[in-house]
């Protein structure tokens, strides 16, 4: 795995299943996300500067800041990477089957996917939300469990950060859990115990970075965070008039599937995309570059 921030940004794919999926959601957050890849191009895009000497200085400082572990950027990157490690083999197989601009979700591909049980899906949604909260605090410097500050900042989300949240609501909420995904996630969280949480593979990956001490405390923190952010999610769904049917139409821009296979669509996206890592890398690079330019 790449260790430097410039390699991570340079290696972001221009076109794969993740970017196809994100592009298909563009009409939900119009014009917010542009797939800027490459470290130098990102510096140009974020700062609007073209002087090579200045770009060098900004990039050098960003590299230094990223590598200083006390600054939290590495922890945030690790969280974004751990929360959605995708199955690259399945992604490649799916791309190889592409017909025109679409991937047909049929036959052999379909047999390789197992839909997640509702409980696991609800937990995944909640844990991804908490990962966003913790990564936000690591990147921007607000104390690690500051739920209130995060909820305030969500209203100001834009660009790739807003796209990440839109994708979370759509492909980890509405598609696998249906229109009442918020209620389902809340009832799951209140109905499970620490042991259930410990057996969830998404939780196992990021557990050490979730505040709360032991598993019981972490479960409480996840519940509390979800409770604070559910209002924002409900507003987002209402203001965009979102429904599983509407999101499905968007996804049909790159994926061909029959309407009764929504749970398979959710599972396919879950294993073949890494939209948290992709857009998270872009968010982190942007914040680093802004700070680096301020400090040079």
């Amino acid at each position: 795995m790449s260790d430097s921030i410039f390699e991570l940004v340079d290696n972001l794919p221009q076109n794969n299943i993740t970017t196809m999926m994100l592009k298909s959601l563009d009409s939900i957050v119009p014009g917010e996300w542009e797939n800027t890849v490459g470290f130098v191009d990102t510096i140009r895009k974020v700062t609007g500067e073209t002087d090579e000497e200045l770009i060098q200085q900004i990039g050098d400082r960003a590299v230094w800041l990223y590598n200083d572990k006390s600054q939290g950027y590495r922890r945030a990157m690790w969280l974004y990477q751990m929360v959605d490690r995708s199955d690259k083999a399945l992604g490649s197989a799916a791309l190889a089957n592409k017909v025109g601009n679409k991937i047909p979700l049929v036959g052999g591909l379909l047999s390789k996917i197992t839909p997640n049980p509702e409980k696991a899906q609800a937990l995944d949604l909640s844990i991804k939300l908490v990962v966003e909260l913790v990564a936000f605090c690591q990147i921007n410097g607000i104390p690690g469990d500051s739920i209130g500050d995060f909820v305030g900042a969500l209203g100001d989300y834009s660009g790739e950060s807003l796209m990440r949240m839109a994708a979370l609501v759509c492909v980890d909420g509405l598609i696998p859990l249906g229109p009442d995904f918020i209620l389902k996630a809340q009832s799951t969280l209140s109905g499970i115990g620490p042991k259930d949480l410990e057996s969830n593979s998404t939780f196992q990956g990021v557990s050490e970075s979730i505040p709360g001490g032991n598993s019981k405390g972490k479960l409480d923190f996840i519940g509390e965070s979800f409770g604070s952010v559910k209002g924002w999610m409900a507003d987002f769904v209402n203001s965009k008039n979102l429904s599983p049917e509407k999101v499905m139409k968007n996804l049909q821009g790159f994926l061909e599937f029959s309407d009764n296979k929504l749970d398979y669509v959710a599972a396919f996206i879950d294993v073949s995309t890494n939209y948290y890592e992709h857009t998270g890398t872009q968010t982190l690079a942007r914040r680093l570059i802004e700070r680096a330019f301020d400090e040079i």
Binding site: Q56, V63, N67, Q71, G72, N140, G141, D294, E295
Partner: protein, 167 residues
Amino acid sequence: MISLRKYLVALILSSCLLFTACSQQAPSRFDDAQQQSTSKGATAVVDTSQSGGTFNRYFPDGNSQYERIYSQEKKGFAEAKLKAEGKEIAILSISDTTNNPSAIAKFKESSSKISGYPAVTQGTSGTAVLVGDRYQVKIRSKDSSFSESDRQAWLSKFDLRGLSKLK
């Protein structure tokens, strides 16, 4: 014959280069920074720098036209966005140059001043002042409607004198 030999050597060398380039990441202009910043004991931020939170009180307030939103707060650094009608138009920041002493050099070459403090423009979007020979206060435009004179005017709205006394 000599030219053929030269040609062959060049071909072999370039094939080697191509082979190694394909087998690993291409060299980057940021390799030096990567190497230096990951060497033993290297840090981007020193313990003695001010906490970011202490800078907040020196930022200018928003008003009915402009909204100021704090966006980053790290050791030795604080940053806020300036928005007008919901659109981000500028980034305001204060940083402690003890974390990046090379930032001071550009002020020594400048003869211009804002509110009595050494001032520079940086690139096409930035204007900065150095306060108390230590703190860099910078404004960067994020929209073409926010001009250099806007940056100068907003820099003088910071409590620069208060900041100059911060030890």
